[in-house]
């Protein structure tokens, strides 16, 4: 742990009216690590991801630094352009666009072509997009509208879209939710493989404990808006207090 951390969140707070969603969360990510974020429903995991992604504004006194740069209060698009990408808990793709166009669209901001009206600029993105689409195993549905895809394929597509932004940190909010047991593992393997290849730091929220222990280098446990424990899978597995918060509150992991 001698390297410079890539993401440092300090004292992150978030309140909705009187409800404290995040009560001072600290989290440090080292470059290239795969961190799982777990905890019972309502622990604040998704809110924390939304703060890092800029979808939620941070409360007073909170700071988030990315690669040494203060990004607290930055807009989602600014954060995305800096290199923090995310997927959503509820799958979000451009349903009316084809699979290929979803990826070509994702390539536009980093290529500086958002406001181009030249069809050639779009055609130039076809081959890199097609490589991405094939790499995700979606080659055979490349020209189909995204809305016709299965949930698993849509999750692959959304992952491909965020990958196309060339992120340094990837935030995955329940990447395998709603999937069958076998598909969960193959989907996670695909994501981890791509992340390792592109040296992307992963922070993923996950309820499936098998997936968590199989794929995470380190695990952070949240409960009631605070960090409850943090450690290697072995340390967390041996921590009886962690098991208590899962069994002692409503919303045990599915």
């Amino acid at each position: 742990m001698s390297r410079e951390p890539i993401l440092v969140a300090r004292n992150v707070t978030k309140q909705y009216g009187g409800f404290v969603a995040l009560g001072g969360v600290d989290l440090t990510l080292q470059p290239g690590e795969r961190r799982a974020l777990i905890g019972p429903n309502g622990a604040g995991k998704s809110t924390f991801i939304a703060v890092l992604g800029g979808q939620q504004a941070v409360g007073p006194g909170s700071t988030v630094h990315f690669a040494g740069r203060d990004i607290s209060g930055a807009l989602p698009q600014e954060i995305a352009r800096l290199g923090i990408a995310r997927t959503f808990q509820i799958n979000r793709v451009f349903r009316r666009l084809s699979v290929l166009d979803n990826v070509r669209t994702a390539l536009l901001p980093s290529n500086g072509r958002v406001f181009s009206v030249s069809e050639r600029h779009l055609t130039a993105l076809t081959s890199p997009a097609m490589t991405m689409v094939t790499g995700l195993g979606l080659g055979r549905v490349a020209h189909d509208a995204a809305e016709t895809l299965s949930l698993g394929d849509r999750k692959r597509l959304e992952f491909g879209m965020v990958l196309a932004t060339r992120p340094k940190v990837l935030l995955l909010d329940e990447p395998t939710a709603g999937m069958g047991l076998n598909e969960r593992r193959s989907l996670m393997e695909l994501m981890v493989e791509h992340a390792a290849r592109d040296q992307i730091t992963l922070l993923f929220v996950e309820h499936d404990i098998d997936i968590v222990f199989r794929f995470a280098d380190r695990i952070t446990v949240m409960s009631r808006g605070k960090i409850f424990a943090e450690g290697t899978p072995a340390e967390i597995g041996a921590n009886s207090a962690v098991q208590d918060i899962y069994l002692g509150t409503e919303g045990a992991p599915s």
């Binding site: 990408a85 979000r92 290929l100 901001p109 406001f115 009206v117 993105l125 879209m161």
Partner: protein, 318 residues
């Protein structure tokens, strides 16, 4: 770019040219009617672009039609500028209005966006209606030029069809471009788009300005066509007309506005001759469209394999 795509471009150009030439052979009455259809087709297409691709349902699109008309008419009638300059100033006025109103309206979404656009167009209408010294109030601006610059109905119809075809070709180009993808992406999933690095409001503003400018061109052409300008050109009635055209034509396809305008204007013209309550017929058709074939005429034709929607993909088969 594939053969299919090039082919559809030539087909579009050939059909447009054929239509423009055909205008020259019509009787004067039919030529006037065709001109109105063409102008409304452009106006409805610009609104359809905003709704179908940008995901923004505007209740105030007539503001830009009115600004296009008055931008031209005021420049010609009150400032005494040469007509060619006035013709350019009309759409420019609408574009400026779209920058201003667009920047305000894209701050909100859904019904709040719609209400804000309605408020903006009501402001335009009220100003045109009240600023009597400049706009002539509800008497409008009249007798400052010969309708159609004195051109014959046939020649003006041909000219209008050609300009409308160019504008629609421009819209098709936008839809197939990177900007078109950006507009659709932001229109469909603004949060996803932002998290990919798009600035949603900026993209929406650009879409508003494109749609507003094209609506302004329609407004200017209408003012030249009639040789006048009235506050009603910015009224909510014209917006509703265009909304109905878009729904009848099809809220998913590219040519919905064109089909909708043809049907709407023809019905309004011919049914109203035989039957005073022509709105009743429009209402029944609207109910039928929404309930039976919600993708509209364009969607129906597409299902029958007679038409294709202009989408960025589809033409990209390797």
């Amino acid at each position: 770019m594939s053969f299919e795509h090039v082919q559809s471009r030539w087909l579009f150009a050939a059909v447009s040219l054929g239509l423009a030439v055909a205008m020259l052979m019509l009787g004067p009455g039919i030529a006037l009617l065709a001109t109105e259809v063409a102008i409304m087709a452009l106006f409805a297409s610009s609104l359809g672009f905003l709704i179908n691709y940008g995901g923004m349902v505007s209740f105030g699109h007539a503001a830009y039609f009115g600004l296009g008309a008055y931008g031209f008419a005021l420049a010609a009638a009150k400032l005494g500028l040469p007509l060619w300059l006035a013709v350019v100033l009309g759409p420019l006025t609408a574009a400026l209005g779209a920058v201003l109103f667009g920047a305000l309206c894209v701050r909100l979404t859904h019904i709040y966006f719609a209400m804000l656009t309605l408020a903006c167009s009501e402001i335009v209408f009220t100003v045109l209606f009240q600023a009597y010294d400049y706009t002539g109030g509800d008497n409008g601006l009249t007798n400052f030029m010969a309708p159609r610059f004195g051109l014959s109905p046939q020649i003006y119809a041909a000219l209008t069809v050609a300009i409308v075809a160019l504008c629609i070709a421009f819209l098709a180009r936008i839809v197939r471009s990177p900007l078109g993808l950006a507009i659709q992406a932001v229109g469909e999933e603004p949060h996803r788009a932002a998290a990919l690095g798009f600035s949603p409001r900026l993209v929406q503003l650009v879409a508003c300005v494109i749609a507003g400018t094209l609506a302004g061109i329609a407004g200017t052409m209408y003012s030249v066509f009639q040789g006048n300008a009235f506050p009603d050109y910015a009224g909510v009635g014209i917006t509703i007309d265009a909304l109905v055209m878009v729904v009848i034509g099809g809220v998913k396809g590219f040519y919905g506005g064109v089909f909708g305008a043809i049907i709407y204007v023809l019905l309004k013209t011919f049914v109203s001759r035989a039957f005073t309550h022509w709105e009743l017929v429009i209402g029944l058709i609207l109910i039928a469209v929404v309930l039976i074939f919600p993708t509209g005429i364009a969607g129906l034709l597409q299902k029958l394999g007679l038409s294709r929607t202009a989408r960025p993909s589809g033409e990209q088969h390797p």
